[in-house]
Symmetry: C2
Subunit: 500 residues, 2 copies
């Protein structure tokens, strides 16, 4: 019966004609009524507008709406909804802030979108242990606002104000990773609802946890130790799994002390090579730089215009240093010496919060600055990452490819990690240009692989990079990933069509 329902309801129709087709519609209505029984009627929507809001992220992947959107209020409901969907063969797509860049929320097979943002509690905070537990509705900025005056903060910063559990699901990183690591390095434990509805704590539930198939208590107190060698690293397996293995319903994050002082600096260079050499030398000198971002000449020009900066239009590094007042003086001095040695000029630093914010706001608004280069166009962001030594080569090649393809693109990157983005401007009404952009992105991905890099440093695979993933990890790698997926999600219903 369940399988029959699946075939009739979800498997054989695209979901586009939801609630409008005779018998199928009735079966769906029964299913939707079951969803409503779990979360309450106000927390289920089948309206076209709501479904379309949930069928796309910030990327250019076309909108593919789910059949229904539900807002569970707690982990118990997530568990029951998941079991319900799974037993009926209905796809499940987790949804946080929708700020992804690889189409991770597109409902390619229709199904139920679980919007987890109503679960927005910070359920445990322990300052002595530098750890906090957040539900999926807690965003990066909301957490740091909550932590204000605590002396601690969560440094992983992908730019957008994403859900922290969503950042865990995509393996996000961003501008602070060179010093504080990525999401992979800053998660101590995850609460995951498995496809069956069962609750998994990847690093253990703690001893007070009340187990059971329908857990009646959320894991309010699960913290976790700073390290563990106990069994397989399940936390690591779910970080970056993009919702394809289970739903992350809470994350225990590692916090860091707020630096006593912060200084930002910018420096212009005669060439890409000089900027990258400076980066390598700064890292080799063990200067504990907190951010080191590269912007190419096109990007700098765009930022000057968009954010009213007055920087030289040249390959540029934006740097940030965290430490004691005394340590910062030394860090700045060393960084300036190194940049000068590499031909850098116009090394200028900003100690006051306001001036510093203006600089970093310009960096964080790089996306909008790039969009302003061709008003009316949409942006497409590539995301390759290579060993740092190969950065100059790939950046020079990329600029040549841009020229040859006739596309407009600006480059910005987390150069301390070897990760950079080319923000391409596309006229959405011009399919030929769209095709050129896609071809460019594929070529860039392959260039990164040829240089022992990866096709994605932080955005994930999603829909668009599945072929590149195969080329990256090879046949054995993909087969191993497929086996893991089939083991944990045997019916293939968790965010289907993504990653693999």
């Amino acid at each position: 019966m369940a399988l029959l329902l699946r075939a009739a309801t979800w498997g054989l129709s695209s979901g586009r004609g939801y609630c409008s087709r005779g018998t199928q519609g009735s079966l769906r209505e029964v299913f939707v009524a079951a969803l409503r029984a779990v979360v309450g009627p106000p927390h289920v929507s089948t309206s076209i507008a709501v479904r379309e809001q949930h069928g796309r992220d910030e990327s250019m992947h076309r909108c593919q709406p789910p059949d229904v959107v539900v807002w569970p209020q707690n982990v118990d409901q997530v568990s029951r909804l998941t079991a319900l969907c799974y037993s009926h063969g209905v796809p499940i797509i987790p949804f946080g802030t929708g700020t992804g860049l690889e189409g991770g929320v597109c409902a390619v097979q229709g199904g139920v979108c679980m919007n987890l943002t109503h679960m927005d509690r910070i359920t445990a905070l322990n300052l002595e242990d530098f750890s906090v537990v957040v539900e999926p509705g807690v965003t990066r900025k909301a957490l740091n606002t909550h932590l204000r005056d605590s002396g601690l903060w969560f440094p992983v910063d992908p730019g957008s104000d994403a859900s922290l559990c969503g950042m865990a699901a995509t393996g996000a990183s961003g501008t602070n990773a060179v010093r504080y690591g990525t999401m992979r390095d800053n998660i101590l434990n995850l609460e995951v609802v498995l496809p069956s509805g069962q609750l998994l704590h990847t690093a253990g539930p703690g001893r007070h946890f009340r187990p059971g198939f329908w857990p009646s208590l959320p894991a309010l107190y699960v913290l976790g130790s700073r390290k563990s060698a106990a069994g397989y690293n399940l936390t690591g397996l779910f970080v970056g799994s993009e919702g394809t293995l289970g739903l992350i319903t809470a994350a225990t994050l590692r916090l860091h002390p707020v630096p006593e002082a912060t200084v930002a600096a910018t420096c212009a260079f005669p060439s890409v090579q000089a900027a990258v050499d400076s980066t390598v030398h700064i890292l080799q000198a063990a200067v504990p730089v907190a951010r080191i971002e590269f912007l190419d000449d096109v990007m700098m020009d765009a930022c000057n215009r968009h954010s009213q900066l007055n920087c030289v239009v040249a390959p540029t590094l934006f740097l940030e240093f965290h430490g004691s007042e005394q340590a910062l003086v030394e860090q700045l001095q060393r960084a300036e010496e190194i940049t000068q040695h590499n031909g850098g000029s116009h090394f200028s630093w900003a100690k006051e919060a306001e001036e510093r914010s203006r600089l970093w706001a310009a960096r964080h608004n790089a996306w909008y600055a790039a969009l302003a280069l061709r008003p009316g166009c949409k942006g497409y962001s590539t995301d390759v990452c290579v060993p740092i030594s190969r950065l100059p080569e790939i950046l020079v090649q990329t600029k040549e490819d841009l020229k040859a393809s006739g596309l407009t693109g600006a480059i910005v990157g987390h150069v301390g990690d070897g990760n950079f983005h080319c923000i391409l401007l596309v006229d959405p009404e011009d399919p030929e240009e769209l095709h050129r952009v896609e071809a460019f992105a594929q070529q860039l991905g392959r260039r990164a692989l040829a240089l022992h890099g990866t096709c994605t440093g932080e955005h994930g695979i999603g829909l668009g990079k599945r072929q590149l993933l195969q080329e990256e990890v090879g046949a054995v790698g993909v087969e191993t990933m497929r086996q893991l997926k089939a083991t944990l999600d045997p019916r293939g219903l968790m965010n289907p069509g993504k990653v693999l």
Copy 2:
């Protein structure tokens, strides 16, 4: 035929009577001849002495020798040996330096021990990318000797001179983890021979890799980027899998710049609480301490005697700071202020390499110092890890348990991570004492779990902590791990009887 051979050769006999029993012996001889054909006769041994050397590590787990020991010379041979064993249903146990502490190399079902130490090349080193590729025969000290004068080093330091691939397999850490992270944080890519003999590169093979079931070229040039969001984190899955999912035949490690200067310091405290409070305050003040080790009064007394130190017999912190000359002055000053504020006394620091080495040699010889407390006894090391805030509580409880149990034990710990070891002295001829030690260790593990900690911070599960693992990760956690094991090792031949 293969299954018949398996039953006759390995499944039905313990392996203890190897090469001595009529038909079974002949079948085994055929199999051993096949192993010899792969690696050459000098690289296979069935001698009792050799097998016994390979049947135990540095723990108290009883020797369980494999049936045969082979020394593959390259990854191609590992692949062929593994496929041979797998097709014949013969267990495979990887062996590095044998310095494990949880019985990970015990051949509980007999089988083939693969001693990987002949594969001892450093196959790639890229200073600009801070990365190196090592084979399993390369130890921590050998790598750092090789890196001397390069300006880089590999900081993960579990004390013993273990194989780096072995450290990857157990998810090792040690004294530097508070600053540089554990093995989990410092591995960019692994080359793994899967049970079938297929070769997997967990973060991708790079583009020049020549694929194929019998790869004829080792992946000499595989480096890898500093971060990736490409698909499931296979690297993380194999780190800490203790040889139960595949054989690690190469690891790409992340290197760090050698600090410009190093200073060590010690400080005595009136109580455990005061020592731990100092640790938390030092971390909260963002003093980038490189090592922060706790030794209890018993341990200090033992170290004074064994290493001719003249320290106060009290709860003590050993600290080490890495940085520029100028930064160190400030770090030391802050640390001293914090320790004084918490009642610490006798803060003394050692800047000269010789004096520093003497201090840290004493710390690293803590194991032997503890053994000297009861000559003739063997040592047993526990390995729990808890959130730092729970450390005083568990340390005080542990000392009370020690007293109540009548056992001799000294405590030493990586207090910045919440990880500590109780080194218990046991008369190996006294089964009742051995039993008390085991009961004590189990109780300590459960205390850690009750405080949201883990039963192993760095030694792994091996043979002795399988029950504690179940309690730690719960039924769903264990079932998930079992599913992963069954997926990657469907015949259950990779280091059987360990972890799960």
